[in-house]
Amino acid sequence: MRIDNRRVRAIFGKDVREFRRNRSLTVGMAIIPIVFSVQPLIAVFTLNTSASNTLQHEHVLLYMLGIPALVPSLVAAYSVVGERQQGTLEPLLTTPIRREELLLGKALATFAPSIAVAYLVYGLFLGTVELFAQPGVASALIRLPDLLAQLVFTPLLAGWSIWIAIVISTRANDVRVAQQLATLASLPSVAVTTLIALNVITASWPTAFVAAAILLLLNGIGWRIASAVFDRERLIIGIR
């Protein structure tokens, strides 16, 4: 299968412009990071230096991996069913674009802003903690393994959420339903990262490697599944 980069770029550029000008999507992308960062910030600021011993054995910041798990699902869930609802899917599918190119362009258009938002919010969170939290609390929270985990798992979780949401989007008939289902489908990822953050699941290097490998595999499978369920005829005729 040959992928035409120009076509992928065309979909990427078009979708990014569309998302940027779609108020409901931009608001959605802003609300989730706020929800995920305000509560932890308040919690951190109420801690005093004596809590740093306990914090050193926890991975509280991994809680923020919920952002790359949830933010892209909202946007990716819109990607196909949104085109159907606004009547733009048919003209798009009458061009020479292959479904793999279309889906890759759409996935990248969701991936790039989601990753940017997740890293930006994480960076702002760390900066705020470093500047305003008790010195002992800041040094106990900000540790290299957790930073690495955030760096590696953010794109992997985002990718997985995007493919699940695109699969849902190709099958759904309504944008809101697709977004609700995609959010629900992302919750297991959020649950796992939260359980690790709360030390219910013990984080370790082997666990991290296995989880990363599984997510990488799931991302590859996700693209294939999304391509397989993307049925031009069903999408155009509207039969389920």
């Binding site: 035409d4 120009r6 076509r7 770029r9 065309a10 979909i11 550029g13 078009k14 412009r17 569309e18 000008r21 779609n22 606004q86 009547g87 733009t88 899917l89 048919e90 003209p91 798009l92 599918l93 009458t94 061009t95 020479p96 674009i97 292959r98 031009r232 005829e233 155009i236 005729i237 039969i239």
Partner: protein, 338 residues
Amino acid sequence: MEHNSQRPPDGGTRRDHPSSLAHGSAPAALSVDRLSKRFADRVAFDDVSFEVGQGEVFGFLGPNGAGKTTTVRTLSTLIAPTSGSATVAGLRLTPENGVEIRSRISVMPESPGLYLRLSVLENLQCFADLYDVPKPADRIDRALRAVNLADRARDACGTLSKGLRQRVALARALLNDPQLLFLDEPTSGLDPVASREVHELIDELRRQGVTIFLTTHRLEEAERLCDRVAILNTTLRTIGRPDELRDQLFAKTLTVKTVTPLSEPGDVFDGLPAVEDWHHDGQTTYTLAVSDLALATPAVARALVAAGADVMAISESQHSLEDVYLKLVDEDQAVQSK
């Protein structure tokens, strides 16, 4: 996409209408052979065969639900036919040829399908890239000038009127210099002024030699724009030039109007050369079925003068494409109701 083993319900006999090219022996831009599409138990269109010549404007008419749009979607590789075969822009209609066929054709669907948050230029840039158009800026500029929208290029499509959106959709369809352009109800929902503008654009494309497959249920549009028309009502009912269809389906008629009723019209009209039948059509109007207008008209005039009639008019009755269409559709309905 070929499933020739499946026979149509009528036994698969070829239709007796002229489905071949109107333009001599030039290779067909589109050739369709016994194409059918079914969705479970519902037949969208069945056993459809025709050819469209290079540079021809071909009208595809039919009532709502006749299968026109499904035919276009099938020929543009969006959906697979259930049986039959076709050659589109020189390529067999198969899944393997889908990408290549779509790069040689353009489709303007009934709904313009523009990205309303993007500008006209952004919409066209995206599609120029999807068609892998070389020198996209030049091509976009040419397409915009062709539809007289160069000055609205920076406007968001959401701010344009319906007619202007239709023009943007037409510009989009011209980006790849298609060998075959499918226009699906291009004037649907447009006011008369916007419709006229679209008609003028289609006329201009015809002058440039673009092959156009036009689906419509606006018969005056088809009569004005199309070299040949086909009438589809799930099956192909007829195909030919509009004047051919009128001649096939309706006897030639003369309408005679007099100032006062003729005292003995039978004495006047009976036995005249080429006059086959006549009847009253109001008190002072007579409709004559004739086999040859050139023979019948002067004979009728002479007979009326000889009878001392005060003649107001002798005219050939004109049947429109609408008459043809309604006659065929009415026939279908009569058959279905039996």
